[in-house]
């Protein structure tokens, strides 16, 4: 499964080459052109079958994931680090990671409960006080394996949790490898429009890749594909959950970065209803996606975001439903076929 390969790939912001390689291998032969731009965006072009002039449709999914960067190598061989993108420190204790080009395995330190003081159990240990332990006995040994500026990501492996029902899978980086896998699946279809699949770099640090990709492509309209927040765990109050697992692709009306084009929201809703595909609206006002920069490119681009709902995103592990995944692919194919 491409999603599995993508989820397992190492690709923090600015270091998306492994993800790009997986995607390029999958896309070769299915698209008319594949290129990588200056910021590391992989752009696949699939020529439309309609008469010229054809609309240019950009489908964006970001290839990076939230990660860590090594900023110090201590005398005792431990590695100090900072987050690259929004990976919170409260998620990190005792997690397994891989570090650098050599993919050195390590563990983020955690004081065992025997040594913890009562107040330690109540507080979140700050990222400045955390370190990655790669088992090195001293600074010199660590420096032989890792250098400053190396990235680290969780070493979570993709796994199928349930074959039936919601068909759930777990893995890291579903935000946004789920979107990448949906976008890649679109390359199998034929559309009247010219399709540009942009696997954009550096979304998690400010939507940097998509900004220049949109400038280069100069699309007539754009879809950003995402793995978005689920907020459907048991709660007391009947207020404000965002998307729910298993309820279909989540369509964004508004988030912190943009207000979706109403015509494209309608297109998606019509495509879903005509094909019996379940869908939901993402709770407005939460998060930001590549649409935030794409819709402001040049003279403006009508844009919308569609997402596979994922539980626990921006954590070392998340869960999604393959039903939602398949329905997102189906919805995007149906929507693209409606554009001429």
């Amino acid at each position: 499964m491409l999603l599995e390969e993508l989820s397992n790939a190492f690709g923090p912001p600015g270091c998306e080459d492994e993800v790009r390689r997986v995607l390029a291998r999958h896309l070769r032969g299915k698209v008319d052109d594949l290129s990588t731009d200056a910021l590391g965006n992989l752009i696949a072009f699939k020529r439309g079958t309609g008469p010229e002039p054809r609309l240019k449709v950009m489908v964006d999914a970001h290839s990076d994931e939230v990660g860590l960067m090594i900023i110090s190598i201590q005398k005792n061989g431990l590695l100090g680090f900072r987050a690259v993108g929004g990976l919170g420190e409260r998620m990190l204790l005792a997690k397994r990671v891989v570090v650098g080009e050599k993919r050195i395995p390590g563990v983020i330190l955690a004081p065992p409960i025997h040594l913890a003081k009562e107040e330690d159990l109540e507080r979140v240990i700050k990222i400045e006080q955390l370190a990655i332990d790669i088992g090195a006995s001293n600074e010199e040994e660590a420096k032989g394996l890792v250098k400053l500026g190396d990235y680290a990501v969780p070493s979570t492996r993709f796994e199928i949790l349930s074959e039936d029902g919601l068909r759930t899978v777990k893995g890291k980086a579903f935000d946004d490898r789920a979107g990448c896998a949906v976008a890649a699946a679109l390359a199998d279809g034929q559309y009247a429009v010219d399709l540009y699949l942009s696997f954009s770099a550096q979304e998690e640090v400010g939507m940097r890749g998509a900004r220049v990709a949109a400038y280069r492509i100069a699309p007539d309209l754009a879809f950003a594909l995402e793995g978005t927040v689920c907020n459907d765990l048991p709660k007391k109050e009947d207020s404000s959950p965002t998307s729910k697992l298993g309820k279909g692709p989540a369509i964004t009306i508004m988030d912190h970065s943009f207000i979706a084009d109403k015509r494209l929201v309608r297109l998606l809703v019509d495509a879903a209803e005509a094909n019996g595909i379940p869908y939901q609206f993402k709770q407005p006002g939460i998060g930001a996606t590549d649409s935030g920069v794409i819709h402001l490119s040049r003279t403006g681009v009508p844009s919308v975001t569609v997402a596979v709902p994922c539980r626990y995103i921006h954590n070392p592990v998340s869960i999604l439903s393959l039903n939602d995944f398949d329905n997102t692919v189906a919805l995007m194919k149906a929507a693209l076929r409606r554009i001429e």
């Binding site: 207020s239 404000s240 407005p284 006002g285 490119s297 403006g300």
Partner: protein, 330 residues
């Protein structure tokens, strides 16, 4: 002019939902411009061609207003909302809002006796009179604006959405009174300013102006215990020097000051800590544009009752006419 202010301020148009206000402004613009178009994000652009030898000048006032967007509908049909733009949550309690279809809602805190200085929007809900989730479900994702009638206080007027329909009024008056300017003037009624200057950004890329000026509201320091701001109502249009997002082009400002002084138009200089306007987006378009902003000093900005002085509005129109009648060399 009061009639026009009433018409524009009472219209519905939260960010991203400017269709209704755009049609009202399009009707007001009429056949005065040489070209009228709506760009990709929805800004209305009216071009009045010059007599020749002038610059491409972009004037921008935003059509959108702050509001709320429905983020959740509960079992009993009560709505929860997220802000569209910089909503002052304190002013929401007890307010009414309206939707694009004219439906009205009332905003209430969950527990009135627990109201504190800075209430949390998450603890407020909108009651649209629905009695079930099914009845109100269609409101999810819809935007609401304040409801508050225009009030004529004599030389001063008060309304919701004075920010920035008063700027739209200034542009419309300038368009009507403009005669014999050498410049090609693009009157831009922009969208989505309140959520990040988005309309002005793409409009200015498209227009590629040589000079840009926004017309917007600014704060005033002339109310009891107000923060220290030099701007006050009735002292003339404000020529912006700086705000939270830009430093105005000194050459443009000198021309504005010169136009005011040689025509006996009162003006004040504006330094606003925080906040910004479409001028920032214009200034940073493509390879950069000399830009400034003419502001109307306004009390109670981002509340449902924003107050301006009509003298300032009239003098802003005169200032633009004087500025646009002269060559612009910066």
């Amino acid at each position: 002019m009061k009639k026009l202010i009433k018409k524009l301020t009472e219209a519905y148009g939260p960010s991203g939902n400017e269709e209704q206000i755009r049609e009202i402004i399009r009707a007001e613009v009429g056949s005065l411009p040489d070209e009228v178009r709506v760009d990709t994000l929805g800004s209305l652009i009216a071009l009045k061609k010059g007599t020749g030898g002038g610059k491409r000048v972009m004037l921008s006032a935003h059509m959108d207003e702050i509001g709320l967007i429905v983020s959740y509908v509960d079992e009993k049909g009560f709505l929860r909302a997220q802000p569209l733009g910089g909503v002052n949550v304190m002013t929401l309690v007890g307010s009414r809002v309206q939707f694009a279809d004219g439906a009205t809602g009332v905003i209430s805190p969950e527990k009135g006796d627990e109201m504190k200085k800075d209430p949390d929007l998450a603890k407020l809900y909108i009651d649209v009179g629905a009695t079930s989730r099914e009845e109100a479900q269609g409101r999810l994702g819809q935007a609401a604006s304040f409801v508050r009638p225009f009030a004529d206080l004599g030389r001063r007027v008060v309304a919701k959405a004075m920010d920035d329909r008063i700027g739209c009024v200034v542009l419309l008056e300038v368009l009507r009174k403009l005669k014999g300017s050498p410049h090609d003037i693009y009157f831009v009624f922009s969208v989505q300013e309140e959520v990040g200057l988005r309309g002005a950004r793409t409009s200015s890329y498209g227009i590629d102006p040589e000079v840009g000026i926004a017309v917007d509201v600014t704060g005033s320091g002339d109310t009891p215990e107000a923060r220290k701001l030099a701007m006050k109502l009735g002292a003339g249009p404000c020529i912006k020097v700086m705000d939270g997002g830009m430093l105005s082009h000194p050459g443009i400002n000198n021309l504005l000051i010169g136009a005011a002084e040689s025509n006996g138009i009162p003006y004040q200089m504006e330094v606003l800590p925080g906040g910004t306007t479409d001028a920032m987006a214009i200034q940073l378009a493509r390879s950069g544009v000399p830009a400034s902003c003419v502001s109307i000093a306004t009390r109670y900005v981002h509340t449902p009752s924003e107050m301006v002085d009509l003298d300032d509005v009239e003098n802003a129109v005169k200032l633009f006419l004087a500025f646009l009648g002269q060559p612009i060399e910066v």
